[in-house]
Amino acid sequence: MSQQLHNLMAAARKNKKALFLPYFCVGYPTFNASLAAAEAALEAGATALELGVPFSDPISDGPTLQKATQFSLENGTHFEDVFRLIRQLRMRGYEQPLLVMTYLNMVEQMTWRKFAETLEAAGGDGAIVPDLPLEEFQEPKVILSQKGLSLIPFIAPTSSPERVKKADTQEAPFLYYVSVTGVTGARKTLATGLLKTLGDLRKKLKTPIVVGFGISNADQAGQVGRVADGVIIASALVQLISKTKISQIGKKVELFCAQVVQKLKHS
């Protein structure tokens, strides 16, 4: 597992200060623009990044991420580009944890072993794979951990208590809590009962909890941050990027991320 990510998350839990993990789609709208966005987020104080690899059939994603990933694919983005992005960030001196978000088939074709080697060599910290169920976790988890990489388990509002418990015993740096019963996408309001559910979960689970899906702005992030150990924002950032001139992407992303980081500090 990634010791740095592990330590950061453990500290967040201990200090009750939620961390910010923004998502960017590699190659959207161009490779360089996604690199600029990633840098801007790290400059603004993001704790770690989730870097999405575009896949032709992203079943967990809503319209915003579908469009962005399809655009990126049509622009000629390849799996290799996520490793290239990580290498570029490391070359520029960023040391924050970098996680790759990918659908399972891409990794299966590369093989877990090769994926782990390539990710480690690039300087990445782990993987988030939404269609890899807990039942199939063991083997890839071991392969990744041999390279010092983490595999992040998901839990959802529909997860049974047994499954939540099983996720909690994976020794992961955090659990990815899917805040809504649904696909990714910015939403006007937080899911009903979310804050209470998170509060209860945090008391029960020893693994820190990071919340994603449907968190759209700094205020919502602040609310969630009071009861979780970290917050992921994806679609809202992608929407922002889609509406921004390429030359301005870094600036706009930095501003947005700085607001979220501020809110989380003071919540």
């Binding site: 032709s56 079943i59 399809q70 074709q109 959802a156 509002p157 529909t158 997860s159 649904g182």
Partner: protein, 398 residues
Amino acid sequence: MASVPNSKGYFGSYGGQYVPETLMVAHRELIEAYEKFRKDLKFKKELNYYLTNYDGRPTPLTFAANLTKKTKGAKIYLKREDLNHTGAHKINNCLGQILLAKRMGKKRIIAETGAGQHGVATATVCALFGLQCEVYMGEEDVHRQSLNVFRMKLLGAKVNTVTSGTKTLKDATSEALRDWVTNVKTTYYLIGSSVGGHPYPMMVRDFQKVIGIEAKRQILKAEGRLPDALVACVNGGSNAIGLFYPFIKDKKVKMFGVEAAGDGVNTSRHAATMAKGKPGILHGSRSYLLQTSEGQIAETHSISAGLDYPGVGPEHSYLRDTGRAVYVSATDKEALEAFQLLAQTEGILPALESSHAVFHALRLAPKMSKKSIIIVNLSGRGDKDVNTALNRLGSKYA
């Protein structure tokens, strides 16, 4: 061969349950409900009632005398799934699953459809049982199967046009899964083929195996022995697994699955997953897939919208690797040839999907002795394809 799938839904290394965490509970619920009701006498009785009195089963096994004479070889029999209510084998599975959904207390049904046959069958059973129905269909298919779109609407279903990705069956399936992730508490996802996460491939097979069970009984009655070969078209492969499954232990019965070769398997326009694909993961299970070397799912082409999916059911992948079944293909042109020949020799207009299977029978029969027997699964009727045929063949018949 051990009985498949195992308790985790694996057929050898294929199958499984590769779905987002949100849907795991729904799959668990479905497994429990299915395990409970599959053995339940009342459930079986009710399903049989509808299969007999609503669907019109058993469907006949027709000896194609003229076609046999013409091909000068093996006797060709046709399992007449085209005579099912709604015109294809799809309704067998829909009746089974809708009775299950009803027992699970689900009020809203969603489905994906390619050619529209499964969509029509789902809309039909929803009308029959008074359940709300929404069908996802790719924009491409909405255009080429507009008649089926209207049929679904007439039956009271809502048809959602899918404009993402390649705008065909795979994207309709992804969109149906997204709907299910969102509405999992109230909604039952009625998958139309032997694909998806466990238990779908097993459950769809079980509801379709009535085809093979009847065919076996009928051929024993007509010929006093088992057939030498079974032929069925394959994409997801529910009609094929339905015919094959009851014969799997009868080692002397050869089994041929026929994929859509489109313009040819060596062109970029086909849907021959077994011929050109590699194992991978899509829509909940591991199976052969048409994909790039990096794992992006490939675009497909077939004249028949019902064979235009880049994957294949996991059990077929298993039957292929174990050598129990052989997978071949037929091109658009070959399917059209069989489509016309069957119409003109037997007075039966097959679906373009089934025409692929008919073509392979035409290829096989002359190489076999006159005592040999082939059963072709005529999975659906061709009425829905008349427009497509008119576009391709109209000038020939002007």
